[in-house]
Amino acid sequence: MSFLDLDEFLIDLAAQVEVVYSPVVDAKEYPENVDVCLIEGAICNEDHIEMVHKIRARTKIVVSFGDCAVTGNVTAIRNQLGLGNQENVLQRAYVEAAQLNPCIPKLDGIVPPLLERVIPVHEMIHVDHFLTGCPPSAPRIKSFVSQLLEGKAPQLTGTDIKFG
C-alpha cells in the first residue's frame, strides 16, 4: 500500500519498468531473467522457501522490502513461543479465535505447512539490498527505486534505513 503512496511517481515508474510478477499481476509462474525483485514479508512456510530460491535463481537483484522481509518483524513474534509451536499457532488462529467453523486448514499440496520458525529472507537466500521500514515510506521507496533505475547500487542513509 505504501507503494501506492508514490502517487505520480508511479506513472514515471510505469514507463520505465515492466511488472512481470506480483500479487496483482496475472502470472502463475515466476518468470526467468528478472532484473529486480522486491520481496515483501518473511519466510514462514514451505512454499516461501521454494519461492525465494526460485526468485534468487531467476533474478539479478533481490531486495528485502520492508521490515517483515528484513527482520521477520511482527510475523516473527510467534518464534518467541519456542520451536515446534506451529500447531499451537494454528490452533489459536483457526480454532480458539474462530467464530465460525473452527478447524485447522490442512490439505496436502494446497495448504503449505508452516515452518518451525519465521525467518528473514536473507537467512535463506543471498539478498542484495535491504529496504527497511514498516512500511518503507513512499519517499524512501522513491529514492531507492530511482537509484536502482539509474543503475546504481542504492545507498540509503540516516532515517531512510530506520527500522519500524
Binding site: 527482520t71 521477520g72 518483524n73 513474534i77 520458525r117 534505513i161
Partner: protein, 240 residues
Amino acid sequence: MAAKTLTINGQQVTAEEGATVLQVARDAKINIPTLCHLDGMKDVGACRLCIVEVVGTPKLLPACTTVIAEGMEIKTESDRLRKYRKMTLELLFAERNHVCAVCVANGHCELQTLAYEQGVDHVRYDYLFPKWGVDTTHERFGMDHNRCILCSRCVRACVEIEGAATKSIAGRGAKSKIISDLNEPWGEADSCTSCGKCVQSCPTGALFNKGSTVAEMEHDRSHLDYVVTAREKKLWVTHA
C-alpha cells in the same frame, strides 16, 4: 585543576584534568555513540559503543571511562570502529525481540537511532527469539524485557539518583534480567517510590509509561538532569 591539551580527530582541545574522553569530545561537538552512558550517572563502560582509538595504545578504549591525558591523540571514527559498532548493534538486535514497528518508543529509541546512524540496515546474525515477559503490574509503568538491552541505566537511576535500589540485575550472561526487589512483579515491590526515574533513563522502549501506544513513549531526561545538577551543586541545601 590543571588543564590538559589533546587532539580528537585531529582537532586540538583543552579540558580539565580528570575529564573523560567522552565529556571532552561532546564539549567539542564530536559525537561518540553510546548506550550505557547517561549524564549524571556513574559510567560502567558496558556497551562498548563508545570505544575509540588512542595513538600508542594497542587496545581500543571506552570513551566514557577513559580519563584524558596530556598529548593524547584520539580517533573516534575509523573503518574498524565503525565495523565493531555496527556489529555490536546487530548483536543487540539479535539478542532479544526488538520489533520497532510495534514499539512504544518507535521514533524515540536510542538503539533504533544508533542503528540507522551506524548504517545497520539488516542483522546478519540469527535472531535468537528468546521468551521474555512483560511486567505491567505497576500502576503507572511497564517493563518489556524483550526490549531491554541491559545497559543498567535504570538500575543506576534507581540506586544512585533515587536511592531506592528497587532495581537490580539478576542472573548472569545472556540470562541477565532487570528485577524489582526480590524478582517480584514490579507492582508488588514495596521499595519502589514510583518516581519514574528508571523509566525516563531507559534508552529503548523497555520501560514505558502505561497507556503509551506505538511511537508515543518519549523519555524525558531533563528531570534526571535537574535532580542530578541540583544535587551536585547542592542547590537544595537550606543555609539556616
